[in-house]
């Protein structure tokens, strides 16, 4: 029997959005009540246990755990470096370039929550990564996009722009990490399932 699911009903959003979206897996996640101790431990938090995406990735529990620990440190270690909202802008710009509508919705939503700048964040979604977002966001967005493209366009020009926008070397590493991590996350989300507008939000 095939483990691949195809949906007849398409409930994708129309475009990039900051509104919360759902995500439907194409490959079968593990059932919540059949998780082993190790699998459950690798999911770390209850919200991942509830998520079909993470219950799919937990088919390789150790790889998922390592991935999640990288993610947490890059985005939530605030002992130094770039403010949280700015890291979310790096994540959002990478997602915008790769075309991951789901990832972009989550991380633009977080950028707005952390900064209160919903309109600027929306510009990144509507106009793209070169939109005028004010500094340092424009520099961060463009640097993240440059690193996301193949072949990489990231170099001394982007580093100089980031410095001119007030970032130091440690902040720049956070931009690199944030953009690079979303080149990991976007590919998994795009290739293992699809975004959907949650039923409560459909017209």
């Amino acid at each position: 029997m095939s483990v691949v699911t195809e949906y007849t009903e398409d409930n994708r959003p129309e475009a990039f959005t900051q509104q919360g979206l759902g995500w439907k897996p194409w490959l079968q996640p593990l059932a919540e009540d059949e998780l082993t101790e190790q699998q459950r431990a690798s999911l770390l938090d209850d919200f991942r246990v509830k998520s079909p995406y993470f219950r799919l990735l937990v088919r390789n529990p150790e790889a998922l755990l390592a991935r999640t620990l990288v993610d947490k440190d890059i985005f939530y270690n605030v002992t130094s470096g770039l403010p949280r909202a700015d890291r979310e802008i790096a994540a959002s710009a990478a997602s915008r370039v790769n075309g991951c509508v789901y990832c972009a919705s989550v991380h633009t939503g977080r950028a707005t929550k952390e900064s209160g700048r919903e309109e600027d964040v929306q510009k990144l979604l509507d106009e793209g990564v070169d939109a005028d977002l004010g500094e340092p966001w424009s520099a961060i967005s463009q640097a993240s996009a440059a690193l996301t493209r193949t072949p990489s366009e990231f170099g001394s020009e982007q580093i100089q722009q980031l410095k001119d926008a007030g970032l130091d070397d440690a902040d720049i590493m956070d931009v690199i990490y944030g953009a690079a991590f979303f080149n990991w996350a976007n590919r998994l989300m795009l290739s293992l399932g699809e975004p959907e507008v949650p039923s409560r939000a459909r017209k």
């Binding site: 440190d73 493209r149 290739s191």
Partner: protein, 212 residues
């Protein structure tokens, strides 16, 4: 295995970037752990080591052919597989390389932004068997045009003998590499700036350990 990102980005112990990387210890440790889990697994299961290195060499060849990561993964493949496989993979990457990311949107309001492009088909031959050929096709999709992904691509893997568990590991492997090569690329560029700034500033001692 020494830290692969530090090694490829030329970050020496005690250098400026070493100290900066040390501020994110959990990211550093677990990026390395990810490498070890994906490329030195205790139980490779249905995804043999030679195939893992072949997918890696192809992925890096597509996304970052000028990265030091290419020689690194090609060497792993040559040590594990045979020379014919390494040559075949290098040739495929060379043929299939193109700028990315491209792909078509399925969201109605974004179709104007679609950039349609090729999906590769890799026929199985003596060097590249059917199981690996399907994985390389998937690696091409994820590397260069991930927004084209659809359930049919997972079916293609399934029909070539890939289990759901191994498909997840394959997806993690290509996606992790997409992260790793960008961290290396970004830190190489940053390291160059840091080193040249110090060299140009007579009040700062030159950081000999900063690069190789």
């Amino acid at each position: 295995m020494p830290d692969v990102i530090d090694m490829l980005a030329g970050i020496g112990a005690g250098s400026a970037l070493d100290s900066i990387r040390a501020t994110r210890p959990q990211a550093r440790e677990n990026a390395q752990r990810s490498f070890e889990l994906l490329f030195e697994p205790s139980e490779p299961g249905g995804f043999p080591l030679a195939e893992r290195y072949a997918v890696a060499a192809y992925t890096v060849g597509l996304q970052a052919s000028s990265s030091p990561a290419l020689a690194f993964y090609t060497e792993l493949l040559e040590d594990e597989g045979d020379a014919a496989l390494a040559a075949a993979v290098a040739q495929l990457a060379e043929e299939h390389r193109r700028p990315g990311p491209y792909g078509s949107y399925k969201e109605s309001g974004l179709m104007g932004e679609s950039e349609p492009g090729p999906t590769v088909e890799i026929p199985a031959d003596e060097a590249v068997g059917q199981h690996l050929a399907a994985a390389l096709e998937y690696a091409h999709l994820l590397s260069l045009h991930p927004r084209d992904a659809a359930p049919e691509h997972l079916r293609r893997l399934e029909s070539a003998g890939w289990s759901a568990d191994d498909i997840v590991t394959l997806g993690q492997l290509v996606s992790f590499l997409s992260f790793q090569i960008r961290v290396v690329d970004g830190l190489l560029a940053l390291n160059q700036e840091v080193t040249s700034e110090r060299a140009g500033d007579p009040t700062q001692p030159q950081d000999a350990a900063g690069s190789e």
